[in-house]
Amino acid sequence: MIVTSSLIIWKALICVTGSESPVVVVLSESMEPGFQRGDILFLHMSKDPIRAGEIVVFNIDGRDIPIVHRVIKVHERKNTGEVDVLTKGDNNPGDDRLLYAKGQVWLHRHHIMGRSVGFLPYVGWVTIIMTEKPIIKYILIGALGLLVISSRD
């Protein structure tokens, strides 16, 4: 029951938000105290232009973990509508230029996967625990498997 309803909600979220990964788990403390490790963020990607203050999720070329930080500078080109963006974590002392790829000074639209529009606290701990301590994942799957087998009547 819980598994099927989770799957339905997940697929529905993908349709509604128009994003490949509509939910991300906060992994670092760089946006504290607003976002703590273990919170989940709901993402939405629209064609609206990127503006300062928005919390965006982006990927750096060469890194596989997405980063969730706030936009602090925007320079939008008149003719093409392309945009140069600089981000910074609220809890970090400096901006993200150190995190960008070597030689990269700005983020562009194609780096950005979505904007954070909503938030739920603590729910992401399940994912963090299962990723960092895989043994828990195996125990959980084992227990669920036993439940399925033993409840046949």
Binding site: M1, I2, S5, P33, G34, F35, P49, R51, A52, G53, E54, I55, R70, I72, K73, V74, H75, E76, R77, K78, G81, D84, D90, D95, S116, V117, G118, F119, L120, P121, L147, S150, S151, D153
Partner: protein, 167 residues
């Protein structure tokens, strides 16, 4: 049919559904709050205004920021993130937004404030367009809830102008 496992599963699903429902209602209640924020920004001094070696203009300002953001806090508010951005247009860029200062306001009592500082983040142009430039100073705020939807708004203050010559 009435085994312990089945009952535990039903209870857990029900509990999670109710919790999700409560979070959604808490978030929805934020739509009904009456918000009347106010703010004023004064430029006290242009500290310096130069062209960098790469050719980009940079200016350092001292700002006096007064704001009352207390009405933005609801029972579902965790913090308000406020920042002041300089916004202007150039021949190449239709919009430039440069954040000059930001602050995290964790409680309602701290949301009525007065602060005098020089810009926290560097005000650097893409090019050398800043001499004599008219610009707006906009106070933006992002309300981060305890659960649910985040929302943001701003107050635009216009009429600021940079000097015609470097100094």
């Amino acid at each position: 049919m009435h085994s312990f496992g089945y009952r535990a599963n039903a209870l857990l699903t029900f509990a999670v559904t109710i919790l999700a429902f409560i979070c959604a209602i808490a978030s929805f209640s934020d739509n009904f709050s009456n918000q009347t924020p106010s703010a004023q920004i004064q430029i006290l001094n242009i500290n310096w205004f130069q062209k960098q070696p790469h050719g980009n203009d940079e200016v350092s300002l001292t700002l006096n920021i007064t704001a009352d953001l207390q009405s933005l806090f609801t029972w579902n508010t965790k913090q308000v993130f406020a920042f002041v951005a300089a916004e202007y247009e150039t021949s190449k860029n239709s919009l430039n937004q440069v954040s000059l200062w930001d602050a995290i306001i964790p409680e309602k009592e701290e949301a009525n404030f007065w602060i005098q500082i020089s810009n926290k983040y560097r005000f650097i142009d893409q090019g050398h367009n800043l001499r004599g430039k008219d610009f707006n100073l906009t106070l933006h705020w992002h309300v981060m809830p305890k659960t649910g939807k985040m929302f943001a708004d701003k107050i635009v203050m216009s009429g600021y102008r940079l000097p015609n010559a470097y100094r």
